[in-house]
Amino acid sequence: MKRIYSVLVENRAGVLCKVAGLFWRRCFNIDSLAVGETDDREVSHMIIVSSGDKKTLEQIEKQLNKKLDVIKVKTFDEHEAVSRELMLIKVKYNRDNRRDIMENCSIMGAQIIDMSKSLMTIQICDTPERVEMFLETFRTISIVELTRTGTIAVPKCTGTV
């Protein structure tokens, strides 16, 4: 089971380490982790995606709440939230595959943001599933470098969370 934890924490030195350390020490998974400041500079927002059985997922929430740097924990399932992930992918292209790549980008709404004679860097910002789907189209293309952020998510406006 997957679960998204939206965690507001004090924006202080060492807090990321404490939260990550909690996951490590208690053998909880981190599928992805994204951290950034909020509109309040004293508060950071962490989005942690984790997976495990029901009991583990419940423990994660309780243990997060126990941390004294944690202000608030909200948890929700993927379908209860809108989520996004950003991926940058640098590939080697040639005359044969250039058109294919461009078509795939246009179908998936990805953008080519940097280019040279033989390399291009593509950006896609979408749900984690669609990012994954887009990545699949590069199976036969030589990837030079790839980086993706963790998932960030907010509960749906119409949701109950």
Binding site: E10, C17, R25, E58, K62, K66, K67, V70
Partner: protein, 546 residues
């Protein structure tokens, strides 16, 4: 006023009377400022023991124990003591000196990242980077350590922060932390649920843990058991919450507990766990304890509830508060038939146990002493309200099963099982209450881990009494190798060292040695009557199992 002066002022504002510690350059300003404060500093002989002493002090005084040590090795030596306190939820504030804040991170002499090192076993930690934060941080630290689920808080203070001048000192009245609000009062609906369930079941049992002592809930829990006629069992940390001779008390549970106590748990139809973690040593199969029974779990820490077993009725809150609410209710069922059944189990169980003890000593050494009978006799001869501090190992198992506690306290390192806990913890307990009889009972392995504290005991005129049950082995490991490795003994032989008589001479203490059954009574009498610091060696056969 310097930062160090401010720190001392904070301690005075918190009513701190004793600091257990060990100085060094990085904490020198602190120990300079403490001189005229009226706070008594106790120099231990190794930092770990400062934490154990503070733990014993905290458990007997009900206050927060305070420790102060230097940076680097001073701080890292403290780690085991902090982990021990954390595992048993003991309120403690640990102050560590740190190198100059401008040099932090550059691996200078005696620099260690102590707050990073202890992160997973402190309740919270601070690195002070601005002397102006001192009053706020200390106010928070004492509040965090002593409320909710109690525990150690570490404050790491670079030397330049201790030396800095601060122009304004105001100790805050209260704490403003948006991230920390422990639940104190139990939810009324959940409380009602427990009482309703109690009206429907036939075989309820209360299982008390260390939280009962920590919340100062002993009297209320006892009163509740008596009012409702509910039998009680205890975890190791809960020992002495019920007097040993209480008719409703059915011993310690767990893999080192009484068979009749475990049987009572198994056959009950409702378990009320109070301030206990449902940890592996007390409940070996947590998944099964909810089979065919109602499990109520009462704890101040919501994360403990459901961690090891999913309760039917979770109840978060302070035990003292919750049992005050319970006591407002009237019992709606009678469990005397169930209590009768358990009395039968207890009679048979005790009879078998005593017989086994007799058989074991007859086989091993007919005229010798069995630690079980010795501990029973010792504890019966002790003052009614005495503090019994058990170390870790076989001696601890014998103590748990045989120490007879009336209105006294039983202290041990239950969660972490830290060898060497007893001597320094007894020292702290005696400091907390100088008029109370305090006896530390150790094995010869654990004793040697902290025996350097005999010097502290002498120097500070601490009136501790120490028993060393000596069998020349790391007995509990030896016993484990006996069962699990078919008597292939590996690295458990301690030899006969040290000569404890000579050792006590070196420290100017009285010494009593006892090895024969017929000498036991007289030895105990002399030991307890001695007005000087005294150590008693009890020689026992290595074959005896706990």
């Amino acid at each position: 006023m310097t930062g160090a002066d401010a720190i001392i002022k904070c301690l005075v504002n918190e009513g701190v009377e004793y600091v257990f510690g060990y100085p060094g350059v990085a904490i020198a300003p602190f120990f300079d400022s403490i001189l005229e404060s009226g706070i008594h500093s106790i120099l231990v002989r190794q930092e770990q023991n400062a934490a154990h002493a503070a733990s014993g002090y905290a458990r007997i005084s009900g206050k927060t124990g305070v420790v102060a040590v230097t940076s680097g090795p001073g701080a890292t030596n403290l780690i085991t003591g902090i982990a021990t306190a954390f595992a048993d939820s003991i309120p403690m504030v640990c102050i560590t000196g740190q190198v100059n804040s401008k040099l932090m991170g550059s691996d200078v002499f005696q620099e260690a990242d102590i707050s990073g090192a202890v992160e997973s076993f402190v309740k919270y930690s601070y690195i002070l980077r601005d002397a102006a934060d001192i009053p706020r941080v200390f106010k928070e630290a004492f509040m965090i350590a002593s409320t909710g689920r109690k525990g150690p808080v570490l404050i790491d203070i670079p030397i330049d922060i201790q030396q800095a001048n601060i122009s304004r000192y105001v100790y805050p009245e209260d704490v403003k932390m948006r991230t920390y609000k422990p639940t104190v009062s139990g939810h009324a609906v959940q409380i009602k649920k427990v009482i309703t369930a109690l009206g429907k079941v036939k075989r309820p049992i209360l299982c008390v843990g260390g939280g009962v002592h920590l919340s100062d809930g002993v009297a209320k829990v006892r009163a509740f058991a008596e009012k409702f006629g509910i039998p009680v069992v205890s975890t190791m940390m809960g020992l002495s919450a019920m007097p040993s001779d209480h008719p409703l008390y059915f011993g310690m549970v767990g893999n080192n507990g009484q068979q009749y106590g475990n049987r009572a748990m198994n056959e009950s139809d409702m378990i009320i766990m109070v301030g206990a973690r449902v940890a592996d040593r007390s409940i070996s199969q947590p998944d099964l304890i909810t089979d065919n029974k109602i499990l109520v779990h009462i704890d101040v820490d919501p994360a403990e509830i459901g961690k090891n077993a999913g309760p039917n009725v979770p109840l978060v809150g302070d035990i003292s508060h919750i049992f005050t609410k319970f006591l407002e209710q009237e019992p709606a069922a009678d469990y005397s038939a169930w209590v009768k059944v358990l009395e039968g189990y207890r009679n048979v169980g005790e009879h078998t146990r005593q017989k086994n003890i007799k058989d074991a000593i007859r086989q091993a050494d007919p005229d010798g002493i069995h630690p079980a009978t010795f501990i029973r006799a010792l504890s019966l001869a002790m003052d009614e309200n005495a503090v019994y501090v058990a170390d870790v190992g076989q001696n601890q198992m014998w103590s748990c099963a045989n120490a007879w506690i009336r209105s006294g306290r039983f202290l041990t390192s239950g969660g972490m099982g830290t060898m060497g806990y007893a001597v320094p913890a007894a020292m702290g307990a005696q400091v907390a209450d100088p008029d109370r009889q305090v006896v530390a009972v150790c094995g010869d392995g654990g004793f040697q881990m902290t025996m350097m504290e005999l010097a502290t005991i002498r120097q500070q005129n601490i009136h501790a009494k120490i028993v060393v049950i000596k069998n020349g082995y790391l007995g509990l490991v030896r016993q484990y190798q006996h069962y699990s490795y078919k008597d292939r003994y590996s690295v458990v032989d301690l030899g006969s060292w040290p000569d404890l008589e000579k050792l006590t001479q070196a420290y100017g203490m009285d010494f009593i040695r006892v090895s024969r059954k017929e000498e036991q009574e007289k030895a105990i009498e002399d030991f307890l009557a001695d007005s000087a610091p005294v150590l008693m060696e009890v020689d026992v056969a290595m074959e005896l199992l706990s």
